[in-house]
């Protein structure tokens, strides 16, 4: 068999109805819980809604980042399943809708929105040129617009290529990705500062954007890994994807597990060591009362378990381990966001009840629904991509 004569024997296989139904079902269930939650305790519901918003941002924006990186680096191994990332990035479109309830409840969540408090607080007053509702609204709107615009530009080029196989579309996407990277870095950083860091408006850390980024990429790769392996096992891709592709996914997960731990540890260590009260209180909030268990739980769930789970070479290409670890890491990312958001809602102890269980269902249902809806509209392999053959032939 010569390399020039390999034909990609890809014929699209439709998703079973069960997936669509599961998506709708979970989404509807989550929605009902969310509505009831807003009627029982709208503040707590809004904080949970924020976690869902940031989780979906992670998946959508992280997936778009992975697509951009593939084009920029000229990577080939990820080409056969780039469509999975493109579909996940579509989550960006629904973000503004998820953000609306949070936005409407900001007065009960963000200290800096109270003009009477800001007027008497010297530090908040000095931040007012940045932390005010007008500027906040403009920023968030611009971020959403940019993300959705880049999503449409990059993925539509990719889809056009299915028919024409035109190589210049790849060149065009490389250029778009190059422009997207700085946009991504800036918007992700300030989105995380606006939505998450400003929950504690007195607190600050230059690492915050990088911290959120590390979780973002992890969540996107984990979601992708789970879907890719599931689909490959059930024959949704052309033949040829094998353990080496799995290994690449596992190695990426492992690398970013370490990256997250490195960033989290450095941020903590530097504040612990210098011991300045204006910086340490944020960590003290997460180390007092029952929050200490949440902090320890986070370290174990987000680092220790996946680290040892993916450390050995065989485990990085074992589909069973990878599927489990991918779901585990998604759970860990929710725990991480919970740990970032919830101490603002309840300093006394970890709030854990039906709301905290219910809102993630909404997120999962939404991702599956978006996936199933878009799946119907496109090929699940970029059949016109010039790098596709090389991607399928990828060997370590």
């Amino acid at each position: 068999m010569s390399s020039t004569s390999i034909k990609i024997d890809y014929t699209k296989k439709e998703l079973p109805d069960l997936i669509t139904k599961l998506g709708y079902g979970l989404f509807a269930l989550g929605l009902v819980i969310a509505v009831i939650a807003y009627f029982t305790d709208h503040t707590r519901a809004a904080y949970n809604n924020l976690i869902v918003l940031m989780f979906l941002t992670s998946i959508g924006l992280g997936a778009l980042f992975m697509i951009g990186i593939e084009y920029l680096m000229g990577a080939v191994w990820s080409v056969p399943f780039r469509r999975v990332m493109e579909v996940l990035a579509a989550v960006l479109i629904v973000l503004p809708i998820v953000a609306i309830p949070v936005y409407l409840n900001m007065h009960d969540m963000y200290h800096w929105t109270h003009s009477d408090v800001v007027a008497t607080d010297k530090i908040l007053k000095s931040k007012a040129p940045y932390l005010n509702m007008e500027f906040f609204t403009i920023r968030i709107a611009v971020f959403f617009l940019l993300w959705i615009a880049f999503y449409f530009m990059i993925t539509s080029n990719s889809r056009k290529q299915d028919k024409s196989g035109d190589q210049s579309l790849t060149t065009r996407n490389i250029r778009l990705s190059a422009i997207f990277m700085p946009v991504f870095a800036i918007t992700l950083t300030f989105a995380s500062i606006d939505w998450l860091m400003s929950l504690e408006p007195h607190w600050f850390s230059t690492m915050y954007g990088v911290y959120y980024f590390s979780g973002t990429i992890l969540a996107a790769i984990a979601a992708g890994t789970f879907i890719i392996i599931k689909m490959d096992e059930n024959g949704y891709f052309a033949k040829g994807i094998n353990k080496d592709h799995y290994y690449a996914l596992g190695a990426l997960l492992f690398a970013f597990i370490n990256f997250w731990a490195y960033i989290a540890f450095s941020q903590y260590m530097l504040y612990w060591y210098a011991n300045l009260p204006e910086e340490t209180f944020w960590f003290i909030d997460r180390w007092e009362g029952s929050w200490v268990y949440a902090s320890i739980f986070l370290m174990i769930v987000h680092f220790v378990v996946p680290y040892f789970g993916l450390l050995s070479q065989p485990s990085k290409s074992n589909p069973k381990v990878l599927k489990f670890m991918a779901l585990w890491i998604l759970f860990a990312h929710i725990v991480d966001l919970f740990w970032l958001v919830m101490p603002t809602y309840s300093k006394d102890g970890v709030p854990f009840g039906w709301m905290e269980l219910g809102f993630p269902i909404l997120a999962v249902g939404l991702v599956i629904t978006v996936f199933a809806t878009l799946y119907k509209k496109m090929n699940m392999m970029p059949v016109g991509d010039p790098k596709l053959k090389r991607g399928i032939n990828f060997r370590l």
């Binding site: 010569s2 940045y130 210049s168 060149t171 870095a185 950083t189 600050f204 230059t206 210098a274 204006e278």
Partner: protein, 455 residues
Amino acid sequence: MSAVDYSQELSVVEGKPSLRSIDDVIIKPLESKPDKKFYIALAVTVSMLGIGAISLALSFYYGTGLWGNNNPVGWGLPIVNFVFWVGIGHAGTLISAILFLFRQKWRTGIARFAEGMTIFAVITALIFPAIHIGRPWLPLYLLPYPNQHSLWPNFISPLLWDVFAVSTYFTVSLIFWYVGLIPDFATLRDKTTNKIKKLIYSVFSMGWRHSNRHWQHYEMVYLILAGFATPLVLSVHTIVSYDFAVSIMPGWHTTIFPPYFVAGAVFSGFAMVQNVLIFIRKIFNFEHIITLNTLEKMNKIIILTGSLVGYAYAMEFFIAWYSGVQPEQFAFMNRLFGPYAWAYWIMVSCNVIFPQLFWFKKIRRHIPAMFIIGVLVNVGMWFERFVITVTSLSRDFLPSSWAYYKPTLTDAGILIGSFGLFFTLLLLFTKTLPVVSIAEVKAVNDDAQPSHGGH
């Protein structure tokens, strides 16, 4: 729109050279007598080294009063130079270990040389903390061993972590380098006709016979060492950044320091490797092994790391304002418009602005242009360490003690000497060891590996 064919993989080695010609071209510098140009270059670097040696001798004789270090700037050029040289070393390990783990084939042509530069850069760097303590007979006490004076190192200090981090890093880098050299020593042993050389090469090749089993062990050791070296290289500059960031000095105490220092180190290291390789590939006729495509990829890494450094500058600045902490805000305004504003603006233009020219393909592939940008990057990165170290200290918490730090001639002499040492070691390296891995280049030559789908 574009002439690039994305469906084909670019070859790492151009022109499909025969295996024999790869041997010959890489070994040639070792077998031939050094020419005039080599001696001229060596004379220059040894003279620079001499200037450094004289400056050091004077410092030992008269004391560290010959340096510019004084209150409030206790950390002057010695720390700046230390951080600079440790940073230069980072590219080597990134290329040899991290890119190896990523299976980047283009690293093969440049890995050996970059690893060599790592080792020489760390040797150069280690001079500075040794002399900066002023009592060079005391560092022995940095090792935790029970002694009559009941002296025990202060494990809470990041300066001590540095000792362990840098020495571990150096050891692993050296072993990594040596393991990579073993197959090449065997090739040299088999080729040489000189008896003394044969003896030396035989000892160092440790009985290597290029057998299948040897290669299997070699590959495994190489992989494990790459796995070790990767966290080590990240830890070294992370801990160097802790030296600054754990203190409460405004401008130093900021959480983004660890990844920012690592990115900056890789940035300057790549610029240095790129600069030196431009000469090496020309002088030794390695243009088909260290190709223009390889240089272009290095330039891409320079633009990536340069942008990360730019991001860190911006974040520091924004958070200094956002934090509302006055000393922090002052420290940054002082950097921009204070007495050291000239250094700050050199740093920003060289590190953030000029490397952005690499977005243009023409500049990325234009050798004189990339050389100049590479030099500018290193100027900028040296000034980055200068700005961080000096601006914060020269205007500390007590305005009455503020002072303008000025390096002295002796400081400059030691800095020149460090470049002399580094380049002298590099020159000697090019004449004693194969600067490109013979075995690895053969493995990435076209048709060297059976590929899926066959040929």
